[in-house]
Each structure stands twice: as C-alpha cells, then as structure tokens.
C-alpha cells in the first residue's frame, strides 16, 4: 500500500461526528441543558495546560456530556527554532486525559526569537518553511500518537519571496507531514477576498481528500478589508463556501467558532443545525 493510500485510509477511519461548536465558558450552563443539539464541542487545548483543579473539573464535566475535540494555538509547528519539548509533553498529557479521536494545530508559528506572537501567524510559502513544518510535525507525532490535523491560517500579511501558491504550500505541508486538514473556510474567504483571489478556486486547489474537520465563523469588514473576527453571525458568502467544502471533501465534522460578542446560544445552535443539515445533504453523516 502506498503512503498516500495509507494516510487516506487512516483519515477515513476517523469517526463522523457531525456539527458542533467551539466551547466558550459564558454559555456553559445553557449548553449543558441543550447538549442534544450539538454533536461535539471543540475546546482550546492551551487553556487546559498547567490548569488549576477547577479548570480540570470543567474539562471532566464537558467530557462527561460531549465528545471533546482539542484545538491548539501555541505549539508553533512552523517555528524554525523547533518545538519546546516541555510544551509538547503537556499537550501529550492533556490528550491522554481527553482520549480524543484527533487534535489540531495551525500551519503557522507563534514564537520566534523570544517573542510570543500570541496567535498563529503565517509562514512564507517556501520549501524551507515546508521542511520546517514537516520536521516539527515528525517530532510532535513521535511524542503523540493521536492523529494530528492542521489548520490554514488567516492573515493580511503576505511574505515576499513565495516559491508556490498558498494552496500548493498547504498541500506540500500535508504531503510531507502525513496530516489531515482542518479547513477553515472563513480564513480562506478573508484571505482570498483581501488579496483579490477566488475562495472557491482556492478550495478546489487543496487536497480535499485530506479534510477531516471544517471551521466556519462570521467575519466583518473593517477599513475595506474582511476580518475573520468571529464576532458576527455567519454571512451567506461563508455558507456558500461551506457548502462547496462539504460537497467536495469527506468531512468528519463541522465546527462553528465564535469568540466574542456572543449572541444568545439558540442563535449559534441554529447555525450548528444548518451546518448539520449540510452534512446530511452530502451524506457525510446520518
């Protein structure tokens, strides 16, 4: 069996979860009351590293009621300096506690030269960056057996000196690392719109057979640019892109992200239900 087939088979064996949302503390109690309306929740794994007992109690409560998918932002897989072993060990311990079907990080970096960027930032679309990502992912996968999937990032910044397009860069990283893709359609929409490209064409150029999970969220316009702010309801343009992604890729789950300006929970659950219906339409789950 070729390596590509092996990876595709591995990803195809991951469970089909359905539609869910990123967990945020302010709606915890209401979410617990309406748990049948979400198929899973995604947590920001970084918030549970070095966590006090109360935070771990919260995690235990969530695990009791939901399938929990951990999403990380600070491992910095794209750092040319390499990974921090201690950080990797903490993630390992958390994943052991959660026993999730997969975990996710970004195709980007958060740490360089003693500076903490605080948020996954883009890489140059170069062979050196592909090799850096692949090298760090090999280190991570040696430490952690749980399948890792990688998310495309949003950024107004384009590094000069690109040797390939962004979809080709993502494809190369996935190919060399053997990881699945966490496709963020809002990030693609924002990047493509801001840089004068077609988001649909961007999606078509990706290795869609690698998609495991999809993120979607609202965006807003600021000073003539689209910002992936995760503070608004999801506009029709994003729904169309989500439709395209779900129709073309073997997605195992769709996750709504909302960080701030949280609306009443039923509004978000309505968006989750619409995403679930989309998955059913394309027979991604029952």
């Amino acid at each position: 069996m070729g390596r590509k087939t092996e990876i595709t088979n591995l990803l195809a064996n991951l469970p089909r979860l359905g539609a869910g949302l990123s967990y945020r503390r302010p709606f915890r109690d209401e979410l617990l009351q309406r748990q049948s309306e979400v198929d899973f929740i995604e947590i920001i794994g970084d918030f549970y590293l070095d966590a006090p007992p109360e935070k771990l109690d919260e995690l235990a409560l969530l695990m009791e009621h939901f399938t929990v998918i951990p999403h990380f932002t600070t491992l910095s897989l794209g750092s040319a300096e390499g990974l921090e072993e201690r950080h990797l060990e903490k993630i390992y311990l958390l994943l052991k506690r959660i026993a999730a079907p997969w975990w996710s990080e970004h195709i980007g970096y958060t740490r360089a030269g003693g500076i903490n960027l605080g948020h996954p930032s883009p890489l140059p679309f170069t062979k050196e960056a592909v090799e850096t990502m692949a090298r760090n992912i090999i280190t991570a996968r040696r430490a952690i057996a749980t399948p890792l999937i990688l998310e495309n990032v949003c950024s107004p910044l384009i590094w000069p000196g690109a040797e390939m397009t962004e979809p080709a860069f993502i494809a190369q990283v996935l190919h060399h690392s053997g990881c699945g893709l966490l496709l963020d359609v809002t990030n693609i929409h924002a990047n493509s719109t801001n840089h004068g490209a077609s988001p649909a064409e961007f999606i078509e150029q990706l290795p869609l057979e690698r998609v495991v999970q999809v993120h979607f969220s609202g965006a807003h316009e600021s000073k003539g640019r689209l910002v992936d702010s995760r503070t608004q309801s999801v506009p029709e343009s994003i729904w169309q892109l989500l439709d395209l992604a779900v129709s073309r890729a073997p997605v195992r789950c769709i996750c709504l992200e909302r960080d701030d300006n949280l609306p009443p929970l039923p509004e978000m659950l309505w968006e989750v239900e619409r995403a679930r219906a989309l998955g059913r339409l394309y027979k991604r789950w029952n």
Binding site: R24, R25, P26, D50, A51, P52, P53, E54, K55, D57, G78, S79, A80, E81, Y109, R111, A112, G113, G114, I115, N116, L117, G118, H119, S121, P124, T126, E128, A129, T132, C154, S155, P156, L157, I158, W159, P160, G161, R225, V227, S229, D259, D260
Partner: protein
C-alpha cells in the same frame, strides 16, 4: 537558518510599533543594527500597510483573550477597555506569557493609568483588581490571595450580571480572599 531570522524579524515588526516605524523608514540600517541583515534582504519588499494590519489583528486577538479573563472590567469600561488596551499593548507579551498573566499585567497598567489620570467610573478599578486577584489565585499557584478594595464589589458584580448599569459611586470597602488549602484543593473564595 534564514527562516529563523526572518521569523524573528517579522515577529518583532508585528509586535513592536516603534521598531516597525523605524524599520520601514530605513530597512537596511535598522536590520543591520539588530543583526538581521540577511532576513531584511529577503523581506525588503514587505508591505508596510499589510504589516500594520497584521499587527492590528494580533492585538485584537490578544485583547479578546484578556477581555475573556476580565469580563466585569470590560463591561464597566466599555470602549475604554479597548482604548486602554491599545496603549498597554505597545509592548509584546513576554515569551511564554499566558493570557492570565497578560490580563494581570493589563490590570497593573490600568492601576498606573488611574493613578496618573484617573479612571471613570472609579469603581471599575476595584473590579479590575478583584478579577486580577481571582486570576492570580486560580492560575498562579498562589495559595492565599487577599485584596482590600474601596468599592462594593459584590453589589457591583450582581448588578452587572443582571445587565444593569450601576449608577453612583458604590464606596464601601470590600475584602476579597481566595485560598487553597493544598495545591490539589479546589479554590475557596470569600467576599465581604
């Protein structure tokens, strides 16, 4: 090796406003003084406006994380919370700094701002110090944290949780105590 230098330069440009303005005025000279000449050659065509927008995006994300940890302070200050944060965030977070540490450092900034120019409403600072105390007790292995605050924090928090806008000065001392008998114990809290 080149990527490491480039990442360092981009990280500095994205988080240090003064350095960014100096760099785009004269990239070669500034990069040479920082030992980043190789990176600057490759990045000499970086777009200044894109870098500004990128810096703004990072700051917005950082603000969201801090706001999440100081909900009462944010409600109390409204738009002034973001305005104050903009002044605070001229310096990047330290390497390895967690959002809770960032939030505590921001409250220290608010204290300095209040001492220098005052803060409206005055009770917002008591809420900020209360929330920073809770974060220190929850996240930073401090087994005992005590805060004596000059405003009626309990009443203010109740009103704000009910969606009401507190009117008046709410001057009445509050004593807030958090303690954890052992490292593995659940945090206890008492607020007068």
């Amino acid at each position: 090796m080149e990527l490491a230098l480039q990442q360092k330069l981009v990280a500095r440009l994205a988080t240090d406003r003064e350095f960014r303005e100096k760099f785009f005025a004269d990239p070669a000279r500034v990069a040479a003084t920082e030992g980043l000449t190789v990176a600057a050659e490759t990045l000499s065509t970086l777009h200044h406006e894109q870098m500004r927008q990128f810096a703004r995006l990072l700051r917005t994300r950082r603000l969201a994380q801090v706001a999440l940890r100081l909900p009462l302070t944010r409600k109390a200050l409204g738009q002034r919370f973001a305005d104050s944060f903009r002044n605070y965030a001229v310096n990047p977070p330290a390497a390895g700094q967690r959002p809770s540490e960032d939030a505590i450092a921001f409250v220290k900034h608010l204290e300095a701002q209040a001492a220098e120019k005052g803060l409206e409403p005055a009770w917002a600072l008591s809420l900020a110090r209360y929330e920073a105390g809770r974060l220190a007790a929850e996240w930073h292995n401090q087994r005992l944290v005590i805060r004596l605050l000059p405003h009626d924090v309990k009443r203010l928090a109740t009103l704000m949780a009910a969606g009401e806008v507190p009117l008046g000065d709410y001057r009445r001392s509050s004593l807030a105590v958090w303690w954890r008998p052992t490292v593995a114990s659940r945090l206890k809290h008492w607020l007068s």
